[in-house]
């Protein structure tokens, strides 16, 4: 049990949280980080405009950023874990300087490296990702631990005129893995084709 759960702080179910973020996704473009957020997205339903990372730890937010700049008419959502975000923390400073209005970053924070055996992450010791986001200039940064706030954030994904950041407190459990394709070339080409671009 995580330190936060032991302290009785509320946490959400990760699969439910992903389902809420994506239930009215419309033409939202999704990038997920290495590890459990990739499985969560696959469990919510595979989609040609999901780009799942199976490596490149620390890269999810910047992939979402480059995509958001390239596709200013589309909304881009990055969902990644606390460990993945911590490895690429500088990306929040880079994104905080640029602040693309169509980019949202949601970090599923269980305070654990679930993939490697549930070792505690820095967030479990009190590092605030929401605080980092805000300090980097992302003013719309939310600390979410209940369903009402999550649903409100999910609505804002489609209409906000500014970069959004959310740290979403989730339970430290491991639901059965749902594994999408690990073929990076396939994932890239189908994503581009779904946007009307050439494969390759």
């Amino acid at each position: 049990m995580s330190a936060a759960a032991e302290r009785g702080l509320p946490r959400l179910d990760r699969r439910e949280a992903m389902r809420v973020l994506l239930e009215r996704r419309g033409d939202l473009l999704l990038v997920t980080g290495l590890g459990s957020t990739t499985y969560d997205a696959a469990a919510a339903g595979d989609n040609d405009t999901n780009f799942y990372l199976w490596g490149a730890m620390g890269g999810a937010a910047m992939i979402g950023f480059g995509l958001a700049v390239a596709q200013p008419e589309r909304r881009v959502l990055v969902v990644t874990g606390d460990g993945e975000m911590l490895m690429g923390l500088g990306a929040l400073a880079t994104i905080g300087v640029q602040r693309p209005p169509n980019l949202s970053i949601a970090v599923f924070d269980n305070g654990r490296y679930a993939e490697t055996g549930m070792q505690p992450s820095h967030t479990d010791a009190g590092v605030s990702l929401c605080g980092v986001g805000r300090a980097c200039g992302i003013d719309a940064a939310y600390d979410i631990s209940d369903m009402a706030a999550l649903q409100d954030f999910a609505r804002r994904l489609h209409g906000a005129g500014e970069t959004l950041f959310a740290r979403i407190a989730i339970c430290a459990d491991e639901p059965p893995r749902v594994l999408p394709s690990r073929d990076g070339v396939y994932l890239k080409n189908r994503f581009r084709r779904a946007l009307g671009l050439d494969g390759d």
């Binding site: 780009f51 990372l53 490596g55 490149a56 890269g59 979402g64 480059g66 390239a70 890239k188 671009l197």
Partner: protein, 179 residues
Amino acid sequence: MSERSPHAAAADWREQIFIALKAAEIRQVGYVPDAGHSRLIELCQDDPEVRAIPLTSEEEGIALAAGAWLGGQRAALLMQSSGVGNCINMLSLAKACRFPLLLLVTMRGEWAEFNPWQVAMGTKTQAALELMDVLVYRVEQPEEAAETVAAALDIAFNGSLAAAVLLSQRLIGAKRWVK
């Protein structure tokens, strides 16, 4: 910081590189501030068609370029040789997904270097890139710069491959430490 270049008469090779980037429809340029790239960075910042994006670390740029390509734009990355070392694991993204990638690398630690700390990475930059299957081209003379960059752009974006152009320290001019 001033520079002394042996090729002062051909100082516009940086502008020629910019023209090559524009001709290849590069729309996002990620960079870590660098003296050798400073003119090219200014040209990118001043061009309304190019989004110049300062990075905290070079590896962010590998992910940036992947995202740009997913969304139908072309990106290029500007970095110093030391920054190549920061990219190694993230280059697996380009390799696993065959993302096109162009790195323009200003070299340190190889010619009249004052700071021995730059030598460790500077002398291993090409080998490190080649270990990750990045194609490497070197520019020693200013007149080679534009065509080498254009050739690297071609192979990167036509072949969905990662390519790097190393701009030698002799070309750029060694950093002057004592004024």
